[in-house]
Amino acid sequence: MPDQRPSPEELLRRVEAEERQASRGRLKIFLGYASRVGKSFRMLDEGRRRKQRGQDVVIGFIQSKVEPEVQCLVGTLEVIPGLRLRSDGTEVEVLDVIAILKRHPQVCLVDELARDNPPGSRNPKRWQDVQELLGAGITVVTAVNLQHIAERQDAIERITGKRAQQTVPEAFIRSADEIVIVDAPPEDLHQREPGSAADTRRLSELRELALLMAAEVVDAQLHQCLQLQGVEVFLGSQERILVCITPRSNARRMLESGRRNAERFHCGFLAVYVRQAGLPPADEELVEKYLALARESGAEVHILEAADSAQAILDFARAHAVTQLFVGHSLNSRWREMLFGNPLDQMIRAADAMDVRIFPHPASS
């Protein structure tokens, strides 16, 4: 079992992080996969409920054109009017950061997180305005469309054929204390004019992407929370595949299968090799080839130094919350020792918290 106790530096870092967090406002994001899924409604409804519970809530920004039920909610809350700036001949409304800081509410609602501010504004991007509010201890509840997340633009373009002009960095989204997915069937989005099958398909793909992204954020937060508590529990809420590479395994097949499985499960994909001393040059070469193949297949490759390779792999697998361990076996004359003596036999017996998938070696068939 590796030492799980945090170092003094780590503890200090945590205390500092906590202190920073305590004086900062909380950031809560409603994430939708398209416009009209109801992000603004959910955001404002949260504002209404907070106000009912006695919190001091204001609206920092809301679109001027909203649905009637959203307008209803807007009417119940105090609005801090935005600044109107002229940019390229059109009037643009931006967050009045100074007015909000002066008013200093407990909670500020900010719609359309991914907007750019016109040149000459206090900050170039709205998310930077929000960061300022958070720094001043104001809690911000905001809404963003998946299609405006900077790092997702390649995927978005593959689906919609378009890239967003105005974006927000994913790191900012991930820094949120809370993220909520706003889901709705694609049909609900084109109520007025029924969309084509291709539209519906595109929306479904975006929807899947949004759900998976939210799941990733939840997973990251979950592991952070577990780490902070110093507890080592295995939840297995996300699948993780680990391929064990040795010169004698059918690495090509294992990696191909690992990649395909990772694609289907949308899960983590790792490959590990425990360095062995005194390996013949031909085997060394094979291992190098397999490791390169692993990287090409999209696996996160780790090389371990350890005397007891089975134990090293198991410790690694546990530390990385692996749910599926892929191992090879060879049915040559020494098959019994290879598989059921050390180290594979030991590994299968000890790896009882994960699935172990044994791959046959071509030489055996």
Binding site: R158, I159, P185, E205, A215, L222, L226, S237, A353, D355
Partner: protein, 376 residues
Amino acid sequence: MTPPAAPARGRFEIFLGYAAGVGKTYQMLEAGQELRRKGVDAVIGYFEPHGRKDTISRTEGLEVVPRRKLEYRGTIFEEMDTDVILRRKPEVCLVDELAHTNVPGSERSKRWQDVHVLLDAGISVITSLNIQHLESLNDQIWQMTGVRVRETIPDWVVDQADEIVVVDVTPRALRHRLERGVIYSREKADKALENFFTEQNLSALREIAMRHAAHEIEEKLSAQDDLAPADGAALSPVPASPPRRKECILICIDERPASIVLIRRGRRVADYLRAECLAIYVSPDAALAGLSPEDREAVERHLGFARNLRIRTEIVEGLDLAAGVVQFAHEHGVTQVFMGRSVSRNWKQRLHGTTLERVVRLARDVEITIVAERRR
């Protein structure tokens, strides 16, 4: 004379949540209200108020079909009255808590079976479900939370939904709701906060619900591709991979309780890999005469459990377990065998190797998966 054509099957929509109190029922009722405003004939077939004021207010104006009262062991239970709904024949029926088990003496043992009757009669159903009721997740949920969920629903029932909508709130907001007594009574809420509703449990369940909903969307898109390959290929975000052999998973069942874990996990992996799924028991005789009554009952129960999850089952006659498994695998194009861990090594195994060793030796190009043990 030709029989009258069966009505088109109703539309099936599920509001999926990750725990009690996330707002599934509320959203289901809200959807009903929206339909009513549009002039659709929507009724409430079953709704569990749980004494939540906000939720109850959302039923206003919606017709509620009276429930059926049943006596069981001296207590009166209320269930959805499927017959009355069929006679009333609304366009859309709202049915809360899809995973509910009906009281003994009901016509059907599970509410989802009642829902199927409504759908078959052409009535659209909007329903609510929590992720932990999914059969294939049962062991994982138990391992995570310590709670063995008793009311489960086979995954294929959920797969059949035309639409699954995620109802999301953050675990923090949900815990606040509990603390404020919105979800349960004070005393029950305190217990829940300490046990099931911990931040980590809720986060893990939430992640699983999101991933499952994403998976269902992907499966629907893929099914569309299969129907219209030419059209779908142009739109698909991932370049088409070369055609490959379809995966086929074979689950080896025996009389041990761990077989259930094996079946659930095999089903889940098969669903994700779009693989076929089979389960066998190898026996010297098809009648299972050589087994003790308890073991025979257990094997039959496990095979029945697999069939409930739409896994094809077979009893394979053979004296040698390993040889029987491998022969069946080779004859049926199996790519992956799911097995439990081998138990104690007796003298025979010391001589010939455990079943697992022998399967591995004989299997050649078939992969063998030894399924994780679920423990707490």
